[in-house]
Symmetry: C2
Amino acid sequence: MLKKGLLGQLTQTLCCLPGVGPKTAQRMSFHLLQRDRKGAKILANTLIEALDKIGHCQICRTLTEQDVCQICADKAKDSAVVCIVESPADAWIIDQATIFNGHYFVLHGRLSPLDGIGPDELGLDVLEQRMATGGIKELILATNSTVEGEATAYFIGELARKHQVQASRIAHGVPMGGELEFIDSGTLAHAFNGRKNL
Amino acid sequence: MLKKGLLGQLTQTLCCLPGVGPKTAQRMSFHLLQRDRKGAKILANTLIEALDKIGHCQICRTLTEQDVCQICADKAKDSAVVCIVESPADAWIIDQATIFNGHYFVLHGRLSPLDGIGPDELGLDVLEQRMATGGIKELILATNSTVEGEATAYFIGELARKHQVQASRIAHGVPMGGELEFIDSGTLAHAFNGRKNL
Ligand SMILES: [Zn+2]
Ligand SMILES: [Zn+2]
């Protein structure tokens, strides 16, 4: 009946949302077309505008609609203390969960030589440059506690040592193999405060 | 950090999706902008096209991008047996769960005098017209088993009696107070087959 055609297409594209399977997507399609056309219209337009305008901060590489994000532009934040994270979502969640008052640096991934993701793809050349020119006093390594995340933290820790920058790793209150994005903020705050020097 | 601005707006509008709270919406925003821009673009465009093109079937009032939906246009379906449902989603789910081979009629709601929703708002004037002119032999009342759904079924049952059309109500295998949309298809098939004459 409604499996084919435009409604079916809409359901299929809604499946691109994380955690949304075909059944939920079907329900969302009906809801949007049936009960909330105004909200659906706003959603579509906001999505298009966001895709158009939101890019990466020139300094920390997080998502922002400005050239420089709010945190990097905030004079009250200490730009010499930089927390390294894998994704903008991780930066956001640490910002929510902790009283950290420094800057972030977003890798947009982790070292993965087999996939062709080396230091330069993660912006580590830029980060090293900033360490070399004395712009950074301390690094807090908050990559995920996966194998690649740990390897990435180790690699950046070595870079820091080379440039005599202090580096610490957030504590393993985070379950092994877990992704920061799905940890409750209490555990995350604990792990953040319990970070240890490398 | 990213709470304000366009990303915050996107998160807020994603909350218009059923079952999506602020935390899930936040995760969806990051996902769309960070990991699946192509999917996000397709989603926005499909949504706009769907809003533009999908309207109501001239015969059964379900959602369709044609003037007449696939079921109403299908000559193999028996147009004299009509299943009355509250929403397009209910028609769709019955079509999936049962071997019913008749037509549907979508009320887009239920009788609710306090909200100004009377018979005409549900298209019952049109339905009665079709009964009066002999176009319908049998009605299957598949409104929800809520108080309003039951009252609506009773009202339509009386209309059917007036025009000497056979009417049945789907069996109460559906939990009382439950909405069809959230019932598993086995229960729904059972309830549908066990319908009793009014
Ligand atoms: Zn920034
Ligand atoms: Zn139809």
